[in-house]
Symmetry: C2
Subunit: 324 residues, 2 copies
């Protein structure tokens, strides 16, 4: 497959595994890259520069294909802002690709560019996509309201954000939110995206580090089994609908402080629950496309099914549109 | 173009103009049908059977192509349920297609079928789509969270609802919500839909009866300029973000009764404002795809641009996917 995204990143298929806190580790990201997509490890999973450097080296040992590092600059990353440490790590290790999210990575762009790193900035609104282009991002990832994790505060969906972003910037657009199979992939390309980012679909893979109970939940869950929390702190997050999420909504309704909320939403709480298989004990980023996922399968199969499925869809579209 | 929807309805392109209160009148619907889509007039715009029969005859005089009648069975239709009157009108006039929405049309299905009428039932969730199939609908229209009007209470988007509905029923699926141009059209087809329904795009056409001020507003509006109201009465509606919508949200927040809400949301209030060009004076169904609409143009151009645009997108997809 050939788009400006495959060219830019040097990958076979324009399928990117979005950075997922705790889960996007070396083995997992390398599996995605080895299958022809772009695997991304997550900086915030690591306490500091030293550990991230180790993880980057581990990833490099597991794949000779390009991979990326997600540097999330959201407030909930952890106590103390490690962004500069993470940036130093990716620069020193000459990581091929960096995915940033949260606030604008403007101040780090010259450093990243100088190191020859390709920058993908992930945003939930068109105005931020324009800014991403202005500050020098090589491509922009636009995520819709249906995405797991942080869909922004505007509640605008992938069907609108994708074509609108394509109309609004000149750099390549990568679409995320609601994409779990070949149908979403081709839909995104039809709307002008040159690549897709997927998170939820990759959580339910053989290689994913999520506790088996989470993977089983994903297989059973419906599209109505997610909910948006954290609106009160202007950091909306789409998560699994569980006891912890209900607790957060209840706390937000009565005007709880960030400090109080952190007793439920903090990364430490989530990490423990995620790895112990405590389905109710933390808040977990999950997209609405959870309702489209019916099977746990290896990363390679997920990607190959998209690649083959896309061909079938193309044939179907040709038949439908042939007469017009 | 050929899908089960074009075959079922006997239309050239699988593009349906969804029923729009006050706006979907004979001339307008006929323009859509004459351009190769399916125009739909709205029963609830008419006080009773006699007036609807007149409108159907007027439509028939303006087009020899198939057209439809929307029979909305939502509570806000007006004082007194006219559903049976409307059903009698479409049966006596042998209207080719009926689009139902709101509650299940189950009780009317035998009558409609006996009259040879094709039934499209419009729903905002997969469970209702399954029910539509069970009760004998010929096709199901599934609308996502981004749609104007009534997106249901689940907040699930078109990117998920379309493929999930295709997986869940055997009858043809028509997708709505977020579709305003060829990109959304091909995306919907890629996700397995066999037709699309559009509302907002058709409001900003030369033939639309909306006051010019509304059409101009649509051209200028962004995808963030809509809002969901009426959640408190479990009849969520996506409308233009204006003073009336803000007023409704404020009333809902303080627990206003339906009676109080009706002083702002009633059809009479909306109709007056719509035709007088009072942009703040009523609540108006508008989808998020308003952010994708930049020009007022004739219905025929809207449809032809989709048809031609689809070919261009197909060529682009062929190039992208050729190498894989």
């Amino acid at each position: 497959m050939k788009t400006r995204v495959t060219e830019l990143l040097g990958i076979k298929y324009p399928i990117i595994q979005g950075g997922m806190q705790w889960l996007s580790r070396a083995e997992f990201a390398a599996a995605v890259s080895n299958a022809g997509g772009l695997g991304i490890i997550t900086a915030a999973t690591h306490p500091g520069k030293k550990e991230l450097v180790e993880e980057i080296r581990k990833t490099r040992a597991l794949t000779d294909k390009p991979f990326g590092v997600n540097i999330s600059m959201l407030p909930e990353v952890g106590p103390g802002d490690k962004t500069m440490e993470y940036v130093e790590a990716v620069i020193e290790e000459r990581v091929p690709v960096v995915e940033t999210s949260g606030r604008s990575p403007e101040e780090f762009v010259p450093l990243l560019k100088k190191a020859g790193i390709k920058l993908l900035h992930k945003v939930p609104a068109v105005r931020y996509a324009k800014k991403a282009e202005r500050i020098g991002a090589d491509a922009v990832i636009i995520v819709g309201f249906e995405c797991g994790g942080h869909p922004g505060m505007d509640d605008v969906t992938t069907m609108i954000l994708t074509p609108k972003t394509v109309d609004s910037v000149s750099i390549p657009v990568i679409a995320g939110g609601g994409i779990a199979d070949a149908r979403g992939f081709v839909a995104a390309l039809a709307m002008g995206a040159e690549g897709v980012v997927m998170g939820t679909r990759f959580v339910a893979t053989t290689e994913s580090l999520a506790h088996p109970k989470f993977k089983e939940w994903i297989v059973k869950a419906q599209e109505t089994d997610t909910v948006i929390i954290q609106r009160s702190i202007r950091n909306a997050a789409r998560v699994m609908k569980n006891a912890a999420a209900a607790k957060v909504l209840e706390m937000e309704a009565r005007g709880a402080s960030l400090e109080e909320l952190l007793t439920v939403i903090s990364g430490r709480v989530g990490r423990r629950a995620l790895f112990e298989g405590d389905l109710e004990g933390g808040t977990f980023a999950i997209g609405q496309c959870v309702g489209l996922i019916n099977e746990i399968k290896p990363v390679r199969e997920v990607i190959e099914e998209i690649v083959h499925g896309a061909q079938e869809i193309l044939s179907r579209l040709q038949k439908i549109l042939a007469q017009s």
